[in-house]
């Protein structure tokens, strides 16, 4: 893109002005994060429980009940989607018995994730839908990679959740500075710059760092934090944390499969193959991954249609 050099070099600003801008921006971002809803029940807890293939009705009931807002939303969705008679289902226990554990679990999952992400991005070049599809795609791919490498079913969910949340740090950036973030997305790829480099040039901080701030506020566990702050294979200081590497790889594969969009650029085959080597996956193991991922995303989108409604 023709206009990229100015952004990349900061040529129109003197150094002091740039530093002040950066400081102000970081303050704005911090304020935004402070005001982000803190989740009464840790979002990861809901996600982890809901995503286990063998979730027990007792666990599901407990984890949803801990969060009165989530309980209310799930009950509202169930009643409006299912019954002409208003408020026919009045308790989670009843909902689970009548509608089955999978139905309630999927509603809770969609609701809890969506309440975190809803309406928080207003960029032209990275819409909420694009961002959501990308996040979901990375979650699904990370989980599938985990499967391929022999991670147990219970642990695979960690990879899914880590993938789903890996780009959390982009939300404050894109929400508070939509114009600048559009420029960042436009610039990525020209001059050989990565997304993280472009963000650092423009904001003085990148989405890995901002994501780390949110992860800290939400007290996400070590695996999540590692994935959120270390999912950049092109950055010099490459994480050696398995979840982070797997999520980073999933991130690149999502771009390659053209699933959603979150500003990332495509990477070269040799980087991809080298990364696969680090977690001992042969490239031919990835055959069929794309269609599987697309199916999973379609399914999840259906739930979002309900969960995303205001009434």
């Amino acid at each position: 893109m023709a206009e990229s050099p100015e952004i990349l070099t900061g040529a129109s600003k003197n150094r002091a002005g740039f530093a002040m801008d950066t400081e102000r921006r970081i303050k704005t971002i911090k304020r935004f994060i402070e005001r982000m809803p803190s989740l009464p029940t840790s979002v990861t807890k809901v996600l982890e429980i809901c995503n286990r293939p063998d979730t027990s009705p007792n666990d599901l009931n407990r984890v949803i009940s801990l969060d009165p807002v989530l309980t209310g939303q799930v009950m509202k969705l169930i009643n409006s989607a299912y019954y002409a008679l208003p408020n026919r289902i009045t308790s989670l226990t009843r909902a689970i018995i009548m509608l089955g554990i999978n139905t309630v679990k999927n509603l809770a999952l969609a609701t809890s994730v969506l309440s975190t992400f809803r309406d928080r991005i207003a960029c032209r070049r990275m819409t909420m839908d694009d961002f959501w599809a990308h996040s979901l795609g990375v979650g699904v791919i990370a989980k599938t990679l985990a499967q391929i490498t022999g991670v147990t079913a219970a642990e695979q969910e960690t990879y899914f959740v880590a993938g789903l949340l890996h780009d959390l740090g982009k939300i404050p950036l894109a929400n508070k500075f939509p114009g600048e973030y559009d420029q960042v997305v436009e610039t990525v790829g020209s001059n050989g710059a990565s997304l993280v480099e472009c963000e650092q040039k423009v904001f003085g901080v990148d989405h890995l760092h901002v994501g780390g701030m949110i992860a800290g506020k939400w007290r996400l566990n070590h695996d999540m934090q590692a994935a959120i702050t270390g999912h950049c294979l092109e950055c010099g200081d490459v994480s050696d944390h398995t979840v982070a590497i797997m999520v980073a790889l999933a991130d690149y594969l999502a771009v390659r499969f053209d699933i959603g969009a979150a500003g990332n650029r495509e990477i070269e085959d040799k980087v991809l193959i080298a990364a696969l080597g680090r977690i001992s996956i042969r490239p031919d193991k990835l055959e069929g991954l794309r269609s599987k991922v697309e199916q999973e995303i379609e399914r999840a989108r259906d739930f979002l249609k309900i969960a995303g409604r205001e009434d």
Binding site: S56, P57, N58, D59, N61, R62, A81, Y82, Y83, A84, L85, R88, S91, T93, R94, I96, I97, M98, G100, I101, N102, T103, D302, F303, K305, I306
Partner: protein, 305 residues
């Protein structure tokens, strides 16, 4: 009211020498109200093809075909015959199609449209010459006109699924398929670390209440067609949660709710004629009395209410 069974199987058609007497087509019933010349079709499993042929031969020469089709749900065995229902291609045919929305709140039309795409069938829904009107149903009671009243009830199946209760001039015809008795899904063992007394108690109460609601729904039916894919032993042996009932449960439930004729329906595709004969002797025969009749649905038969 006349009820004709055009298809009585669950899951998949199973033609062959061992199913020739009870029939191999999947779910399709025709309810015909002679007094008002009104035809109601319930589900469009593979059996609906033969019903379509009959309507083409007998009804079409007398005028355009009109029918109400009620889908209990959109699982494959209940919709697979629809593209082979010839009247749907005939200009002048008028169909009102009723059924539940899916879990994702997708309309009935959208759910059914899936099979009218080139990858599954060479004709698209937009290309059909008949006039089709789709009506989404929830759990409710509606007046279908001409003295015909319908009540619907959600059943216990992995997909939203409706039972239908038609009342016409004092007679009641009722369906309850596909469904499984509700059960308490919550841990009931005080020794288990996950045990929660309140949850276990409420779970018991809810399951009992929901089963009682279904019993009230079928109560007093002149004819009840019930999903009895399994025997009790089969259901308890690895088939819980699949959304189907046992013959024993349906017989007990219909018996205590003053149903006059219980028709056992949605036979497992693996069930042979000889096995159904044996089950009739073992389970139906002892339950029969002057007030209560039980029989297995037989494809191609018509019963009068």
């Amino acid at each position: 009211m006349k009820v004709t069974f055009w298809g009585v199987r669950g899951s998949i058609p199973c033609p062959g020498p061992e199913t020739v007497r009870y029939g191999g087509n999947t779910a399709c019933l025709e309810l015909y109200l002679e007094e008002i010349d009104r035809r109601i079709i319930i589900d469009a499993g593979s059996g609906i093809r033969l019903l379509g042929n009959k309507l083409m031969a007998e009804q079409l020469p007398r005028g355009p075909i009109q029918a109400d089709i009620f889908f209990t749900h959109t699982h494959w065995d209940h919709i697979m015959g629809f593209p082979f229902f010839t009247p749907v291609f005939i200009p002048g045919t008028k169909l009102n199609i009723y059924g539940p929305v899916t879990f994702e709140n997708e309309t009935l039309q959208d759910a059914l449209n899936g099979q009218w795409t080139y990858r599954y069938f060479p004709v698209r829904h937009e290309e059909l010459s008949s006039e089709i009107n789709y009506i989404d149903l929830k759990e409710e009671s509606i007046d279908l006109g001409q003295g015909l009243v319908l009540r619907t009830k959600y059943l216990n199946h992995p997909l939203l699924c409706l039972g239908y209760r038609f009342e016409f001039r004092g007679r009641i015809f009722c369906t309850a398929y596909d469904t499984e008795p509700y059960r308490n899904l919550f841990c009931n063992d005080p020794e288990d670390p996950a045990y929660d007394e309140a949850m276990a108690r409420e779970g018991e109460k809810v399951a009992r209440e929901e089963n009682e609601r279904l019993e009230r729904f079928i109560r007093g039916a002149d004819m009840l067609v019930y999903d009895t894919m399994y025997t009790r032993a089969e259901l308890e042996n690895g088939r819980r949660g699949w959304g189907h009932s046992s013959m024993e449960y349906a017989i007990e439930s219909a018996g205590r709710n003053h149903v006059k004729h219980l028709v056992l329906f949605h036979h497992d595709p693996g069930r042979t004629d000889a096995q159904l004969d044996e089950l009739d002797l073992r389970l139906c025969e002892p339950a029969r009395s002057d007030e209560f009749h039980v029989s297995f649905a037989v494809e191609g038969t018509t019963l009068q209410l």
